[in-house]
């Protein structure tokens, strides 16, 4: 077994204010290998976003081990992270191409190369011909595609997605699920995908970690052995149902 790209062991995080303490993450133990697409699923308030922020280096954790980029795959914090959120967060005064370039600008990467890369990425996410458009000229799904391209422009090793399709309508969302699988296959990135949709978690993840709330903890994690390329009709397969039932059970929703 090769050394995992991300090693989490007993990670916990407590938010402290003057009046109270709140345990947002505990027991997070997980190994993630390079190129995996791990879905984190759980009800709201179970600490998914907090865990992502710890991985992004935005929050410190209180206990446990967070080790990213072991051995032959070095990871530079503050450089090798790409993020996608529920809102596209595109800057409305910037053209799509310039929005995609934002991380490259922040990191001070050479602009000529980055621009070329941004164009390639827009092609990859299916936004050919929209480089010069402004965000408001794009549909919600297209805006999320641009946000995904932006998360890839500086060629980070780890992509963190926090309910990226949560604000889309059901049909667009399913379409984007397939798109993401394709983008993941093409870009070969390690992706951590937060969702509170059990179906989405099973369809996308090569592995799935289930988080529960009250008290927050990582309840279980398992491989999802469905074939690639994955298709929407897999949702009707028996195996798919086995996984979703397993998650419902963990969340106490049987």
């Amino acid at each position: 077994m090769t050394k995992p790209f991300i090693h989490l062991e007993g990670v916990s995080k407590t938010y402290r204010s003057r009046r109270q303490e709140f345990l947002a993450v505990s027991d997070a133990t997980m190994d993630i290998h390079e190129g995996e697409l791990v879905s984190l699923v759980g009800p709201s308030g179970c600490g998914k976003t907090t865990l992502l922020k710890i991985l992004a280096g935005l929050h410190d954790h209180d206990e446990g081990i967070v080790d990213i980029g072991g051995g032959d795959n070095p990871f530079e914090p503050g450089r090798d992270v790409g993020m996608v959120f529920q809102q596209s967060l595109l800057l409305k005064w910037r053209k799509i191409i310039d929005n995609v370039l934002l991380p490259a600008e922040i990191l001070g990467l050479p602009m000529g190369e980055s621009r070329e890369r941004a164009r390639d990425l827009l092609h990859m996410v299916g936004l050919d011909g929209f480089e010069q458009n402004y965000p408001y000229e794009l549909s919600g799904g297209m805006q999320q595609r641009a946000a995904i391209a932006r998360s890839l422009v500086h060629d980070p090793k780890l992509i963190l997605m926090d309910e990226p399709f949560g604000a889309l309508d059901a049909l667009t969302r399913e379409k984007m699920n397939l798109e993401l699988l394709r983008i993941w296959t093409e870009s070969k990135k390690t992706i951590i995908f937060v969702t509170h949709s059990i179906q989405e978690a099973v369809l996308l993840g090569s592995r799935c970690a289930v988080l529960t709330a009250g008290p927050a903890r990582m309840a279980d994690q398992f491989e999802i052995e469905l074939d690639y390329p994955r298709t929407l009709d897999m949702k009707t397969h028996e195996k798919f149902g086995v996984y979703t039932r397993r998650i419902y059970k963990l969340l106490g929703m049987e």
Binding site: K53, A56, G57, L58, G78, R79, V81, M83, F85, Q87, L89, L91, K92, W93, L102, P103, E105, I106, L107, Y134, Y136, H154, D162
Partner: protein
């Protein structure tokens, strides 16, 4: 094509409604046999420009006061807002004060300003400035603070600096807010300059109005009001033009005017 005829239609309507008002004004005075000292016709108002008053000089003085006070208001308002946005403690402490100050009918402060700053061009610029900078400060502060926390996370996850956050996200994002405050401030700057001239001044259109009032030269008073309005309209036009240049049409704020 459609856009062109749409905007032609819009402009035609704008001109039409003004023409209607001027024509109505004319016939109201003529048919109602309104005495000249109560209300002149539009024609008589225009003709008063050939009177013996020094219109050009007085208009230039008022224009200078309005534009000077306004420019000062934009610079100071935006600068203070930036300082507020850089230091949360300062802004938490001072913002409530700014909001209460904004509730004072600032025109009523005119006489006090005159006591403080004395008569003349300079003091009138200061009055115009004092009266008009608060809305710019308030809207700009709001604009600078209105940044999605997740966008900040995104920048911070790449070790982006505070300066980068400011120049790439906060400042361009607050432009629509700055302009909405600037639009409100135009009328206030004009009011400030005129109040200054009413209370204590030896030149300017406000001063001129008080002079001709003594002689009941109503056409000249109407003319002065017209010129003051034109100063405000020109400034407003410049602001709108700058907004067109600097703000993407989608992010423009249509509310305040």
């Amino acid at each position: 094509m459609n856009n062109i005829s749409d905007s032609a239609r819009k402009w035609a309507l704008i001109i039409l409604v003004h023409v209607i008002v001027v024509v109505a004004w004319h016939y109201f005075v003529v048919l109602g046999e309104v005495p000249l000292y109560v209300m002149p016709t539009p024609g008589q108002t225009i003709m008063s420009i050939f009177g013996e008053y020094n219109w050009l000089h007085n208009t230039m003085i008022t224009t200078g006061e309005v534009f000077g006070g306004y420019a000062l208001a934009v610079v100071v308002g935006v600068t203070l807002a930036v300082l507020f946005s850089w230091n949360a403690t300062v802004s938490e402490f001072l913002m409530p004060l700014v909001v209460s100050l904004n509730m004072i009918p600032k025109v009523a402060m005119g006489p006090i300003f005159i006591v403080w700053f004395d008569y003349g061009l300079g003091p009138n610029i200061i009055i115009a400035f004092m009266i008009s900078f608060l809305p710019i400060l308030i809207t700009t502060t709001r604009g600078l603070m209105e940044v999605e926390p997740e966008l900040l996370d995104l920048v911070k996850s790449l070790k982006g600096s505070r300066w980068q956050i400011f120049t790439k996200i906060q400042l361009p994002g607050s432009l629509p807010y700055i302009f909405s405050g600037m639009k409100v401030a135009v009328v206030l700057a004009v009011a400030g300059a005129i109040v200054g001239e009413f209370i204590g001044s030896e030149e300017g259109l406000g001063y001129l109005m008080q002079q001709v009032q003594v002689d009941l030269d109503t056409p000249a008073m109407f003319m002065a009001v017209l010129l003051i309005t034109l100063i405000g309209v020109s400034l407003y036009g410049i602001v709108i033009l700058l907004e067109r240049i600097f703000v993407k049409s989608d992010s423009r704020m249509e509310n305040a005017a």
